[in-house]
């Protein structure tokens, strides 16, 4: 029979940032267990508001399948002795099943008869199953912070105060996380504050809307907020840029969204807009509004949780708060700028960057040293870079960044501009923190990315130096992975032809030229970078063996590695690559058998066969060409050149016996092969392909 099942967990206000995850993981757990228990249903719906999460299952098949397990025992002739008592083998069998002899029956075919036992593994009712599924699913939903609230020691994200559990019109009686189930729903805390008796599971969620002023459906609420907010903004020519994360957060904070328009004091628009937006969005949960030029306006949108008789009071209250928050930012902004921005630099001595890596002032000096080498490859103006380096950490000790840490860099840029510092340098102060996360943008200007590189390299190498480079498992307390991926992305995107390993060495040498385990540290750094390179290409769906074959060459120029990976990937699956792999393999197999060093030059006097002659002159010619291509990093042409060797090498193998009795001739032939093999190494280790 098909029925509707409803469970609603009534809670105190759940955390807005996790509401959706909690509700969805609750639903996913339910789905998982229904499937595991072979319980059929047509549709499963989830609901979430600040004060409840709910699951409704429609057309749930309540005829649960009872799984029979069948056991065949000893044949009757062997089952009992002459006195009719069970034989040892029978006793063993019933003991193993944990039953007594009277629970058994008999089964027979034409020839024989056996002892038989049937076990129903699932002899429980659908109600019992649903209780079990519900308890497990809620207990195992993904809650970021469990808490206790009473002596029961039950834990959840917030206190659970009510549980409704209905199968059609019947309450499933149970105790769920310390609460007796019932059929009472609670309406909007402030607008209704009523108790709603729900008589049938089908009535959910409409009954909440009708009698409780609650939109239980998360997505309906979300859409309503989005559409109505846009409408209001558009009505006076403004537009919104709604971040989905903020929209989710706001959706999770209200049960009955009301969209209100408000204005803050226009004078605050003179403050850095990033701060205004940060306060409005992250702290106050408002939507910001922009004009047709994409400029921030002093209008904003409040999503209230109540439909007030006096919405004006709500608007005025919010305006009051926002203006006072802005006036706080203004206070800091003015106070900070009482001293010239560059005067902050000596104060950096008071701030420790990392224990045993000195102060931020020391870090600034290291950045300056590194950037003066980096600019050779980025072609950024050295003087500008030095100035940017001097100023880049200064905003970290301003009051405003102390109050709004997310504003680091942005504030530095504003203060630099207000002190008449060149725009490119000011922007570099902001951009040197980029990229902050994996999809984030790369610094745009050469000063910016030179500074970003110097800063990131210093942090990375410094932390490896003091042994804080543990990134095993999930533990990456200093975000080293993100840091190194940032370095790689900058180098690749901006095509900086810099020897990264040499840069590491320079960075490490700043501390002390005579560090004992210097080579080990550099080796670790090299390994770390190459590992992350691998990860980056894997994410872009490049073929693992291609990446590996190139990375194994440990070339310190990342753009060089990039070109090689791309060149090989382009001909992957082609006959060209197949042929290259084939000859490489044949050559390697022969070279593997010899123990000679093969460092000498080819001795032309030892040439005996025409194919030998051909291959040598071809080799000399190819070597020269490849060398030229290599200088221009033209890897596709190198691959083509190598491919030109295919036929001659085949001919060579066919007509020339390598293992000559004369060892000098043999060695000479091996040297030829070795030279060919070496050409392959200019691009990758082809042995990865077979």
């Amino acid at each position: 029979m098909n029925k509707t099942f409803l469970i609603e967990i009534g809670t105190e206000e759940l955390p807005q940032k996790s509401l959706q995850n909690i509700a969805k993981s609750f639903r996913n757990n339910v789905i998982l267990l229904l499937t595991k228990n072979h319980i059929q249903y047509k549709k499963i719906l989830w609901f979430a508001t600040p004060r409840r999460i709910a699951i409704k299952i429609e057309e749930l098949n309540t005829n649960i399948i009872t799984l029979k397990k069948k056991y065949k025992g000893p044949s009757i002739s062997n089952a009992f002795d002459a006195l009719g008592n069970p034989t040892p083998s029978t006793q063993h069998w019933i003991k193993k099943l944990g039953i007594t002899i009277d629970k058994t029956s008999r089964i027979k075919n034409k020839k024989k008869e056996w002892l038989y036992y049937e076990h129903y593994t699932n002899n429980r009712t659908i109600e019992e199953k649903l209780i079990e599924i519900s308890i497990f699913s809620i207990k195992n939903s993904s809650v970021p912070n469990f808490m206790k609230w009473n002596i029961s020691n039950i834990q959840f994200s917030r206190p659970i105060r009510n549980v409704v559990m209905l199968l059609d019109n019947k309450i499933i009686k149970a105790e769920i996380l310390g609460i007796q189930t019932n059929r009472l729903l609670y309406g909007h805390r402030f607008m209704k504050n009523n108790v709603i008796n729900i008589s049938h599971a089908n009535e959910y969620p409409e009954i909440l809307l009708k009698f409780g002023k609650i939109i239980a459906d998360y997505n309906i609420r979300k859409n309503k907020i989005k559409i109505e907010s846009k409408k209001i903004a558009n009505s006076f020519g403004g537009h919104l840029k709604i971040r989905d994360q903020l929209l989710d957060e706001i959706t999770s904070l209200v049960e009955w969204p009301i969209v209100l328009l408000a204005k803050f004091n226009k004078k605050f628009l003179d403050l850095p807009n990033e701060i205004l937006i940060h306060i409005m969005e992250n702290q106050q949960k408002y939507f910001t509004i922009y004009d047709h030029n994409n400029k921030l306006t002093n209008n904003f949108i409040i999503i209230s949780n109540v439909e007030s008789k006096y919405p004006k009071n709500i608007i005025l209250g919010n305006i009051k708060v926002l203006n006072s928050r802005f006036s706080d930012a203004e206070f800091f902004f003015k106070k900070d700028q009482k001293i010239p921005f560059k005067k902050y630099q000596p104060l950096l001595k008071n701030v420790i960057f990392q224990h045993s890596l000195g102060s931020l002032y020391d870090k600034t000096n290291r950045i300056k040293y590194l950037i003066s080498w980096i600019t050779k490859f980025t072609k950024a103006n050295l003087k500008d870079c030095i100035q940017a380096a001097n100023l880049c950490k200064c905003d970290l000790i301003t009051d405003i960044v102390f109050e709004f840490p997310k504003m680091q860099g942005i504030i530095g840029m504003y203060y630099a501009l207000n002190n008449g510092i060149h725009k490119d340098i000011a922007i570099a102060i902001q951009e040197h923190y980029l990229p902050k996360f994996s999809q984030d943008i790369i610094p745009s200007h050469p000063i910016s990315y030179s500074l970003a590189l110097a800063d990131k390299i210093d942090t990375l190498v410094g932390l490896f130096f003091i042994g804080k480079n543990s990134t095993s498992g999930d533990k990456d307390p200093f975000s080293l992975r993100r840091l190194v991926i940032g370095i790689i992305r900058i180098i690749l995107t901006k095509k900086i032809s810099i020897n990264l390993f040499k840069l590491f060495k320079k960075s490490l040498n700043i501390y002390d030229n005579n560090i004992q385990n210097k080579n080990a540290i550099l080796e670790n750094l090299k390994k770390f970078v190459l590992e992350k390179m691998y990860f980056i290409y894997i994410k872009q769906k490049y073929v693992p063996i291609i990446i590996k074959s190139v990375l194994i060459c440990e070339v310190p120029y990342l753009i060089d590695l990039d070109l090689r990976i791309k060149a090989i990937s382009k001909i992957y699956n082609s006959n060209t690559l197949k042929s290259l792999i084939l000859i490489h393999k044949r050559i390697s197999n022969i070279l593997k058998l010899s123990s000679e060093a093969l460092h000498e030059e080819i001795n032309k006097k030892l040439i005996k066969k025409l194919e030998e002659k051909i291959i040598i002159s071809l080799l000399e010619h190819t070597q020269k060409k490849i060398q030229l291509f290599h200088e221009n990093k033209d890897y596709p042409s190198i691959l083509l050149e190598l491919y030109n060797l295919y036929q001659p090498v085949c001919n060579f193998f066919e007509n020339v016996k390598i293992q000559d009795i004369n060892t000098s001739i043999k060695t000479n032939r091996l040297i030829i092969l070795k030279k060919i093999q070496n050409l392959f190494f200019i691009i990758a280790d082809f042995s990865y392909f077979y």
Binding site: E12, E13, L14, P15, Q16, K17, P50, N145, M147, K148, W149, N150, I151, R158, P159, R161, R189, F190, M191, L253, Q284, K285, I302, S304, N305, V306, S308, K309, Y310, N313, I314, L316, G317, N318, K320, V321, L322, N323, S324, R325, S327, D328, F331, N350, V351, I352, H355, S359, I397, F402
Partner: protein, 294 residues
């Protein structure tokens, strides 16, 4: 008469109403601690009361000081010295949220027509070794209360769980009296209105100047060390005196906060001090816990 609006609830009355209300909810009304502290939580009745199994129900007004929050009397909404009304109940009654909302209603706050929200805020205080889950309570976008189910105090797991409700009295007065600026809040009406500004503006101004400009880093730093040292000494007595030790820690924390306001501490020094404070506080909490158990 303009000065005597009939329905105006003065600052003084807000305190009076809250005391009365929580007294009727079987809280014992006690008096503030006479030591500069950053929040009502630091009162020894809350700190020790949250630890262990003995039931507690108390409420009090506490003057609180946060030197960094000084704004020279310029910000309409921020002070370095302000008042909190603090409630601590252990074990937590199941209807605690409703009890709180009722208290707002008794203050004449219209719950139906104002936007009241519970916004996640998991409170923690690293020096006290305290943490808990709860909310900031907002009214029309303004935080008026911190509501916390303590999970730990002094590094000890709470059992049973206490609830702490901390009302920001000035913020509530701003709302009730519909003022834009703290200094316009009416504290009392006898013949004429006495405003918050008349009583405390000078205090804000002078302390802001002192905290940010004239406080002496060496003196504050020494006072910090002296108090911490004294607390340590007291804790090393054959039978340690927990309350005096705890009080010296509170003095120490205040001087630490003054140093912080001046940005006199480097990041590591700051962290080092916090760890140092916490370890002594933990020791005090543990001793108290063991004492109560025996």
């Amino acid at each position: 008469m303009e000065n005597k609006m009939n329905n105006l609830i003065t600052f003084h009355q807000i305190i009076f109403i809250l005391k009365n209300y929580w007294q009727n909810q079987s809280c014992t009304i006690i008096q503030p601690l006479d030591i500069p502290i950053g929040a009502g939580t630091f009162h020894h009745k809350t700190f020790f009361g949250a630890i262990g199994s003995k039931p507690t129900s108390i409420a009090y007004v506490q003057a609180s000081r946060r030197p960094s929050d000084g704004r020279y009397g310029n910000n309409p909404n921020r002070l370095q010295h302000y008042y909190q009304f603090q409630v601590l109940i252990k074990p937590t009654p199941d209807n605690i949220q409703n009890l709180y909302l009722q208290s707002l209603q008794i203050l004449n706050i219209d719950l139906k027509n104002n936007d009241i929200r519970f916004i996640e805020d998991n409170w923690e205080n690293p020096t006290l070794g305290a943490c808990g889950q709860g909310w900031e309570v907002w009214i029309n976008g303004m935080e008026i209360t911190q509501f916390t189910y303590f999970q730990q105090m002094g590094g000890i797991n709470c059992d049973p769980i206490p609830t702490e409700i901390t009302y920001g009295l000035e913020r509530i007065a701003l709302h009730i009296q519909n003022k834009k600026n703290i200094y316009d809040i009416v504290w009392n009406t006898n013949e004429i209105n006495i405003t918050y500004g008349e009583l405390f503006f000078q205090n804000e101004l002078e302390h802001s100047i002192y905290n940010f400009e004239y406080s002496n880093i060496n003196i504050c730093s020494n006072l910090f060390k002296i108090h911490i040292q004294e607390a340590k000494t007291i804790m090393n007595l054959p039978s340690p005196l927990l309350l005096p030790a705890y009080e010296h820690m509170l003095y120490g924390i205040h001087y630490f906060n003054l140093l912080d306001a001046k940005r006199a501490l480097s990041t590591t020094e700051r962290q080092q001090n916090i760890l140092n404070i916490r370890s002594i506080i933990k020791k005090i909490a543990k001793q108290h816990y063991n004492k109560e158990k025996n």
